[in-house]
Structure formats: C-alpha cells, structure tokens
Symmetry: C2
Subunit: 465 residues, 2 copies
C-alpha cells in the first residue's frame, strides 16, 4: 500500500488529505485494481490519526466508486479505476512584461473614451440603491431582450436625441455593440456560401473581424469625405449594407442627406437591410447631430448603438433597434447565445438615464472631448505646416493627412519606439494604396498634456526617420 | 410652403420644432425639391418667433443637406431629398397579460436558484466600494479572458472545491455558462457538414438549442442512474462529448468513477474533447461532492461552470477552464463575439470570493436547498404512495417516478391549469418513450410553503384527471 502522511499545518482537513492521497495513488496506478487496502483501524494507527478520519475518507472513495467493500474480506481498489499515464503538459504563462512597457506609450487609438470621467461614485451609489430597493425578481433570469425599464427610457432618449422612431419592444439590449453586430450578421446571413455584406472601406479592422468570425463574406464599398459612395454599391443584393452615417470611422465624414436617401432607395429596391452603426454621434461640436437614418426608414434599417463610448466600455451594454418583423428571431438568437445581458447593470443604467444623470454626463463629456480635440488640432497644425485635418468635428478621433509621408507599418513601428502610437488609415483599408499619407488619431482617452506631448513626440520621430 | 407652427409649452426648443417640421415636410414631399423657402425674416414673423430661431433651424438643415443656399436668390430644398412613400408598418405590442397570469402558478422549473437569498446588500455595498476605490483602468476595455483578479481567486477555489487543475491563464470568464458552451461549440466544430457532438440523453432542451444555434449536429447517448453509458458512445469521432458528471440534468445521476475513466480513455483514443458541465455540484447533501473529471485529465477536458446557480443568473458570469492549447483561439473568439464580460461585476465578484462571503453564501444556500429538498421529498412520498425519488441528493432539482402515469403534454397542461407546473422527463429526451412516468421538479426557487402547496395541487390534479 502507498505510504500516506498527513500535514497538520495544512489548511486541508485530515480526511481530505487521506482521501486525496489514496485517490491519486489509484489514478497513478500505485494502488492497483483489486488490491486490498489497510483496514481503517490499521491505516489510522499507521499515520497517527483518529479512525474516523480514515473512515470518512474511505466512505467518500467508496461513494465515488474508487473503492469497493467485499463483505467479510475488506476494502479493495475497484475495477476500472486506473488511467494510462500521459506526460505532463508543459504550460508557459503569458509574458505580461511587454504589456507593461507598452502602457508608457501615448496611444492615439480611436474609440477609447475618457474613462477618467466615468461617474464612478454615482454609479456605485445607484447600484447600491438598486440592489437594496428592487424587487427580488431582478436577481433571477430576465427576458432576452433586456429589461423593460431600460428599453422604455432608451426609446424616449433615442427619439429625442437621434430621431429614432421605435417602440420599446423593438429594442434589444446586447452585450455591447459588438454583440449586436455579431448577432445581426448571424440573423441576416442565411447562406454562408452565397450571402455577403457590403461594408464601408476603410472601416475598423475589428468590425471586419466581427463579420468574418460570423462567417460572412465582405464586399468593400469606398468612402470619401461625405461617407459611403452609393454609386459603388454592389449590383447583386447584399444581405445588408454596413454604414456609420453620423461619423464614419476612420475618415470622419457625415453621410449627406442625398446619399442617405440613395442608400435607402437602394435597400428598398434590393430588399436588403441597412445596418446603421451610431457609436459616437452624441459628440458633435459643430451644429446639432444629424438624425439617424432609422428615423427616415424603419423597415429596412437596423440601428446599433452603445454605451461604451458615452459611459464606459467596461459595462458591455449596447442595443439594437430592429424592424418589428425581426424582433422575435433576434430575441431567440440572443437567448441561445448568452440568455440576456447582465440585468442589475441594466437597472442601474435605466435609473441613471431617468434621473437625468445621463444627459448631464453627455453635456460634460462633450465639452471635454471638444477641448481635447481643439488641443490636438492646434498641436498638429503647429507642428506640421502642411498637415490637413480630415473629418467632421465630432466624436473622439480625427484623421490627419501629412503630405509626402508614407505611413507604412515599419514607419509606424519606429514612431512607436519614440513613445507615441498612431494608426495608419491604410491599416483599415481593404483596397490598399489610397490613404498612405493619412493617420487616425483618437483623443478621447488622452488628457490635454498627453495630447501635446504625443504630438511633440510624433514630430520628433518624423524628423529623425 | 408648409404651415409651420410652434408650441411654446413643449419641452422641445423652438428651433428644434421649426427644424423638425421643415425636415418632415421635405421627406414627405410637402416641400418639393428645388422649391424656394420663405426668407428667415418672413418665416420668423409668420410663426411669431425671433429670427434667430429660424436662422438656426435653416443652418442645421443646410448643414445636413436638406436645404441649399443660392447666392442672391434665397434658400431652396436641395436635390435628392425626397423619398418614395411607404405605408406605415402596423406594430402590435406583446401581450404581457398572459405572463402575469402565469406568475401565479407554482413553477417547479429546474435550475431556478433561490434568488430571494441573493446577498443584495453585500453586493451593492461591494459595488460601491469597487467603483470608488479602484484604479480608473477598470472602467476601460479589459482583456477578453476576463479580469486577472477573478481568474486568480477562481483557480484557487476550483482546485479546493472541485479538484480542478489549472493556471488562472486557462480560465476564461464568459457571459454565463450558456455563452461558454456556445463558444466551445463554435471553436471545436470546424466542418459544419461532418462534425457532430455526442450529448447525454435526456438533457435540457435549452442545451440542445445552444448546440443547434451554433450549427452543430447532435448524437444522443443514453443516460441511466449512473450517468452517461460509455458503451453507447459513437464509434466515429465526435468533436466533443457533452456530460454533466456531477449531477446529471434531468436524471440526477452521478457519473461513476469507472465510467469517468472509460470516458477519458475514449476521448484520448478518439482524440476528441470532453465538455464537463458542472453547474450545481457545490450543493451535495450526502457526503462530499465528487471532484471534477478535469482534475483527472486536463488535456481533453473543457470544464464549464457558472455563478448563476450559486449567486444569481442576473449577473451572467460563467467560466470555461481550457486545455492550454485552446486558450488563445478561445480568447479571440470571445473578443469578436462581445469583447469581454462586464468587468465591474467581475471585480465585485472577485472581492466577494476573496473576502470569504462566497464560501459563507454556499454553506448557507446548501442548508436552504437541503431543507427545500427534504420538504419536497417528504411531501411527494406522503402524497403518492408508489412514487420513487430518482437521482442523487444534490443540486436543486429531483426526478419523481409515479408508476402508471403517462405525463403527456396534454396531462401536463391540465396539471398547470390546477396552478402547478411540472416538467416531464420526456420533454428532455431525444429518444422518446423511455421516461413517460417521470417528471422533473426543481425546488431551488420555491419556499417550503410553495413546495407543499405545489405537491398538494399536483395530487389534486392527478386525482381528477
């Protein structure tokens, strides 16, 4: 029999220790099938524990099937309990060092909001209130479409702020806009061999990945400073056209009303859908934001929004406004994907909106982003005489064109080694070669000081490369 | 020109009102392309507002492309701004009445935890603390695998409580076990035409739906009171075998160690995976819980767990423990599915576990569920002389066999009309006809009083049907 010892300083109970050692002995074939074990009295006295300790361990091993008792003869290792040995799997931990180093770099990544301004105190306080005041059913499963309270306030907000025309029942709360887009793709792509999506080009590579992970084929449609060019839309029916009409990423254009209407006529003629991504339109610094396309056409437009940019991406709360005939299928899909989005936070968000904190937060953030944008624009124009700022004054990123610079991957890597990271528009382009001298600079997550320092470092880098 | 009026009692600004009416007029073709508008002065005096109001509305319409200014001649409706008219889409609201009625029924649905005992005050308080004390980076995007703090405490917990052998890096936090299973299916099914999954039969229909929504084919493998029957495993390699070894749903069996090892040998020989769903093993009322299969074999087992049953399904926090070679692909898949699971709640949960509240909560719930189970068992045996309780004393459901009763859908519907809902095992079976006299009764979410009343109603119903 294997040698069993116990460690009285261990946090594990003596029974647990005896149990584990015998179990391991059986699995490792040190105790063989059919082998007789010490009696409980013998083992207890051998290792110096009370008999109850061994009794309990044996009982557990018997109930789990490792051991069997033969009346009047003793306790034996049961049949079929040993495993063929396999070699240990070597497992290396991720090297997190590189990541730490990178944090020192000033990162002009687009789409990073100002998390330093997340209303953390208010959020914590509201969560406490919701947890203590709500009825208990909120801690159970909820509907896959999201909680009613949030969809109600959201419908009112979207109508007022974005001109979206919908009933609360057409809104489905998703785990971020990412999941919204993912599920839309699954829903609208029926034939994986034939169906495809028409997508703005350039567009963020993460968007392309969402579509390809959902097994959809992509047809790029070029974008100019007024957004997607309707004349270039495919002649064969796509499953849907993906557009960001209010502030294109990365080029920053706003889709003109003429093009919006052309696009809608196209969708009607082709009987395909338009997926309208409206991720940062709340932040418009010149004039009022242009209302959504969904407000013009409800039957062919799926409107996708998120709280990641306005509040925090940590929440993972987004939403999709659907034409009524798609609601039921989408709900089912969501249920079998992840049931529903975390509901306590939905209740907190509903209260945050209802109590007016949301509107106040948007007003505050708009000022902050506008200031950050101005700092960036001024720093760029001061540092680079020939630079041109592209894109509408909105959102939390802009595009800079610096004539005669070719922002290849090598150049950008070198720039990073100076302590500042910028993103070439070419990286987001499917058709290569049209935007070589343009870079995307996100300013949402950077302070004025970081922005100024970043542009200085960029200038230094470009001078020396 | 259309007739514009303003409503001074409205919460909308005068500019907004003028803007919306003109915009609507253009889209509805009441104002035609090329038509000249009143001058700002004329319109202002017509509707009785200051000229600035109209100026602002016009400017916005110009910037959005609805209007255009022709120098020295005036403001006109721009070209390409009108839409062909479509009929309004009739949209009926869901009838929520039926749902309210249903709430009065005592529902023995399996898998519903005791949400009346969710530690709501502690949760609210910890959220408040996390929100006010944490570094700001927690409000930004986090890693798709989940936050380090939670994975660290979880690895320790799983080793201690479930014998799971893993590094924190092998754990990925998912939006509930549902998403874990969904992503595993996507990851392991490469050829949708050929690949298939071997699944315990009976098994919850929701599980089957998760697999089919991920486009996987299912091969049922029968289950008896000791869990899945290894001799019935398919001869051709499945992508994975789905099992609930610690407390099968619905039959409630614990997979014997012999069968566990046979299953592992099978997976090694076939080079396929085992997906071990361990949703409620913390609640075992006779002896200690049987350790996980993952503790015996790490390379072929994917271990899936959830906090939905122990804490609350509202949180949508589950996890997958992966063999190291699958971690990177799974992380990517998660990123392009929904980025990551809501991270503020992950921090709260990590603290909840670390501070010892989690272990205390499990001990408390174990007592509660054990009591509820005893009440149910006693009530059943008292009410039905021939009834037999099937399944290990564990979890939050059991199976009752009532000889000579055939629980068809019609019978069950009739029973529901008496105010109590039970679930026939046949509903969960792919091979029909083997479990006609068995029903599943979940007791997790019901109080002792509800359980007693429910059984009385069931008896009354069966006597009258």
């Amino acid at each position: 029999m294997i040698f069993t010892t116990v460690d009285r300083t261990s946090s594990k109970s003596l029974t647990q220790q005896v149990y584990e050692q015998i179990r391991k002995g059986i699995l490792d074939k040190k105790l063989l099938e059919g082998q007789k074990l010490f009696s409980t009295r013998e083992l207890a006295s051998t290792i110096g524990v009370s008999r109850n300790v061994v009794l309990e361990a044996y009982e557990r091993l018997i109930s789990e099937g490792y051991l069997e008792v033969k009346p009047k003869s003793g306790t034996f290792v049961a049949k079929g309990t040993s495993l063929s040995k396999i070699s240990d799997y070597p497992y290396e931990k991720d090297k997190k060092e590189t990541k730490k180093l990178e944090n020192a770099v000033i990162d002009f990544k687009g789409g990073n909001p100002a998390i330093d301004h997340f209303p953390r105190k208010k959020w914590g306080q509201l969560t406490k209130e919701v947890c203590s005041e709500s009825q208990q059913h909120i801690f159970g499963y909820s509907d896959s479409c999201g909680i009613e309270e949030l969809r109600n306030v959201l419908a009112v907000y979207l109508q007022r702020a974005r001109g979206v025309q919908c009933q609360p029942d057409q809104i489905i709360i998703t785990s971020g806009a990412t999941q919204g887009l993912r599920l839309i793709t699954e829903l609208l792509i029926s034939d994986r061999q034939q169906d495809y999506i028409a997508v703005e080009d350039p567009v963020t590579d993460e968007m392309r990945n969402i579509f390809s992970y959902a097994n959809a084929k992509i047809h790029p449609v070029s974008v100019d400073e007024n957004g997607i060019i309707p004349e270039l839309l495919p002649k064969e029916r796509p499953s849907f056209v993906f557009v960001i009409p209010s502030h294109q990423f990365p080029l920053g254009g706003i889709l003109s009303i003429q093009r919006r209407l052309q696009l809608i006529e196209y969708a009607r003629k082709m009987d395909c859908y338009i997926v309208e991504d409206d991720y940062d339109s709340e932040f418009t610094y010149e004039g009022a934001p242009v209302p959504s396309m969904q407000g013009i056409e409800q039957e062919h437009v799926l409107y996708v929004g998120t709280f990641s940019k306005i509040l925090s991406p940590a929440l993972r709360i987004g939403y999709v406004v659907l034409p009524p005939h798609l609601v039921e299928d989408f709900q089912q899909l969501k249920w079998f994907t992840d049931r529903h989005t975390s509901s306590i936070e939905q209740f907190v968000l509903a209260r945050f909106i209802e109590d007016g904190h949301f509107d106040r937060h948007i007003r505050k953030m708009k000022k902050i982003y506008q200031e950050r944008r101005e700092v960036l624009v001024n720093s760029i124009l001061l540092a680079f005489k020939k630079a041109k700022i592209i894109g509408k004054a909105a959102g939390m990123h802009l595009v800079v064109e610096i004539p005669n610079v070719d922002f290849t991957k090598e150049i950008c890597d070198k720039i990073t080694s100076f302590g500042v990271r910028i993103y070439p528009v070419e990286q987001y382009s499917m058709k290569k070669g049209e935007h070589k001298d343009k870079i995307v600079m996100g300013y949402g997550g950077l302070t004025a000081e970081q922005i100024k320092k970043g542009v200085k470092l960029l200038k230094k880098a470009l001078n020396q490369i």
